[in-house]
Symmetry: C2
Subunit: 429 residues, 2 copies
């Protein structure tokens, strides 16, 4: 049986699981592939560090050259994370004619297209299924199983940290700060949660998903972003009364000759699959012209789910090597669809105003909205605060242009009778 | 660009969509594959029949030899359905060294293993993704993306007809017969619905899923089956009060050294993804030791969703041909796990009794259950019918052995105070 050598860069949470599986299940995996898949070396920063599993000491190295210069290593797994030195490592592996598997969303979102071209030149494969929603197979279904479809939309919950926080806020009526703190205590959120709560992580994943689904390069910087830190538990209650859950959605949609690409909190109808995705779970909903609506649901983070996908990518490459064909990594970005500016999007909007409890307030609000050609779908007046003489008004609009809604909301906030506009959340059906 | 020829057997609902896509999208699909994919011939029964799309007359033939004897045809798509002559066609294609794509669950469930061995001998591929849940990619993720996992369980809604009927019964409190009639009027159920409502179709799909997930041959005849025709809308109401939906589930589970394989109505907790799958939609839930819970959701039937998958399988084969490797179709059934007899399974049970409204009834029931070592989790007494002097008693048990429950229920039915046992439904968490 031919031997296929594997080198691993990074032996953290995911790397340890990957190494453990490759060592423990080597016989069964090799049988599936029709070639012996052997983990040769793992790059670590500190040889003396205590590991989750007792790895043989000769497996570890602090010298990356031992991996790049070993001709018996056919596949390099990059799990160091972050942009550098991960990007350099991947480039070096490819130019050294080694296949690459990575879970690095930042590197792929920012450099995927160039790296894939480089891989094509060197006739090696570059696989990155785990870079989006780790354990959930979604990139391979998009590229393979849905290849005959024209995709019209992707709506996805791709960040487990924020979904955990939002689920907490909704179920336990907690303020954002407290839900975040609990997520941090459980290790679901980082000490500096910016990447997650501001939608940066989600934008990387959406850029990768949208590029593959629409065959056009989408840069993460082109994705409009709005985080979850301004949400109030009140909005979850009011949204629920109106028949919606509040989720941080990553959305990419073909609209005419342009593409919408945005990450923001959104009201999602309660009877949809996405609305029922709770806690750290992720889900990707895809609309294809032949297949209709598909949803892929599962764990979007964690050592074991990510290792499941990383090892699967290794096995796919190993199988192709064993099969003896010429490998052509695929990312057919043969279209150029411009990204629509956010102010042009048309959707329904939810917003909440804190107003003085005086006659004529609603008439003033309605007049401002009418001036901006925004028509109202529902109004709920809530929570008269006797002492402060204020009331909460919740408005759901019919489909309106983002720019008009933003102008109207600014005008509303300036009205003497309006204390503040508490939330502006887009509705996504 | 190399040309890859395709022959199509069957131009019905699915076949017409497949032919239409291959003709209409030929340029884009060929670009993706790196070879020109050309539909050469389509076998029909009647040349004069009106078609959904205006196909060129020279495409159609009533002579199957025109496909098998055409050396320019590399891939044969079998969409005639049923066991014969489909099985012969597939055999003939393989022995003629042509690759095969099929959506035929009956042929694959009954003969998949032998056909795959034959295909391996002839170094051709045999793909059948559309045979299970048509539009939803699930076989390829199971074999490829989850390859590193040990699968412990599959729970799936794989039959759209019955799920539509159950959804109707639940939402509109309709009796089974009326919900079935409405499904028939909409074309969701056949005039003879036996295959769907008795779980035969689901058993075919489960046999395929279980074989791939557990790497052991599972014959459809080994799957225990119970249909939906005995369900009463009352049970949907009571189940809902207890926190459950009623779904026809296809279940395969590793239990010790054996495998459970069964299709039957089941109480499914309302807060799970499967419970929210309504109407004609399907979903497959997979439990892997690394990945945890995954759910694949989408349309499990229909011309366009099925054609999406059939064409994807064609493209995968075409890509492999273009890549020049040796193709080895995979169905690694290298284990032999015996199927556990149904009477041995252990689960929770729901049942409903219609009883005389007299003192001591519940005590008698409890005694019978106790004698069979079945412990009760909840009891609800319902609907006192003053005129008939009867009451409904609903019981939910703790985990119990099927055989004990069946004996106890038979004994209960024989009690003078018990008019009848109205339903016995297994609970699936």
């Amino acid at each position: 049986m031919r031997e296929i050598g594997v080198g691993l860069l990074g032996l953290g949470v995911v790397g340890s699981e990957v190494a453990h599986i490759l060592l423990q299940r080597s016989e069964r995996l090799s049988e599936q592939v029709g070639a012996s898949v052997t983990l040769k070396k793992a790059l670590v920063r500190d040889l003396a560090k205590r590991r989750t599993y007792p790895f043989p000491p000769e497996l570890l190295t602090v010298n990356v050259d031992e991996i790049f210069n070993d001709p018996s290593i056919d596949i390099v797994i990059e799990l160091v994370g972050g942009e550098q030195p991960a990007l350099d490592y991947i480039r070096r592996a490819i130019t050294g004619d080694k296949h690459v598997v990575t879970a690095n969303k930042e590197v792929i979102a920012k450099n995927g297209y160039r790296l894939l071209s480089l891989a094509t030149q060197h006739e090696v494969d570059l696989r990155y299924e785990a870079s989006v929603c780790s354990g959930i197979p979604v990139l391979s279904p998009l590229q393979q199983d849905l290849a005959a479809n024209e995709i019209s939309a992707i709506r996805a919950i791709v960040n487990g940290t924020t979904n955990y926080i939002l689920t907490k806020m909704a179920r336990e009526d907690l303020p954002y700060e407290q839900a975040l703190r609990e997520a941090q205590e459980l290790g679901y959120a980082e000490p500096d949660p910016t990447n997650d709560v501001e939608g940066i992580d989600a934008a990387y994943k959406l850029a990768i998903l949208a590029s593959l689904a629409f065959h056009t390069p989408v840069r993460p910087s082109e994705v409009s972003r709005e985080g979850i830190s301004n949400l109030d538990p009140k909005d979850f209650t009011y949204a629920h009364e109106l028949g919606y859950a509040v989720k941080l959605l990553a959305i990419a949609k073909q609209r005419g000759e342009t593409l919408e690409a945005r990450v923001h909190p959104a009201l999602t109808p309660l009877d949809t699959q996405l609305a029922t995705v709770d806690g750290v779970y992720n889900a990707v909903q895809v609309e294809g012209d032949l297949v209709g609506t598909l949803v892929f649901y599962g764990r979007g983070a964690g050592g074991r789910p990510t290792s499941s996908t990383v090892v699967a990518d290794v096995l796919t490459i190993a199988r192709n090597i064993a099969m003896g064909g010429i490998i052509k990594p695929r990312m057919e970005l043969n279209r150029r669809i411009p990204i629509a500016p956010m102010f042009e999007i048309v959707t329904r909007y939810y917003f909440r105003l804190s107003v003085a409890d005086q006659p004529g307030v609603l008439a003033q609000i309605a007049r401002v909205l009418g001036d901006h050609r925004i028509s109202i779908s529902s109004v709920i007046q809530k929570e008269l605060d006797e002492a402060a003489q204020t009331a909460q008004i919740v408005i759901l609009t019919h489909p309106s242009v983002e720019q008009s809604v933003q102008s109207a909301v600014a005008e509303l906030a300036a009205l003497p009778l309006v204390n503040r506009v508490g939330a502006l959340i887009r509705v996504e059906h």
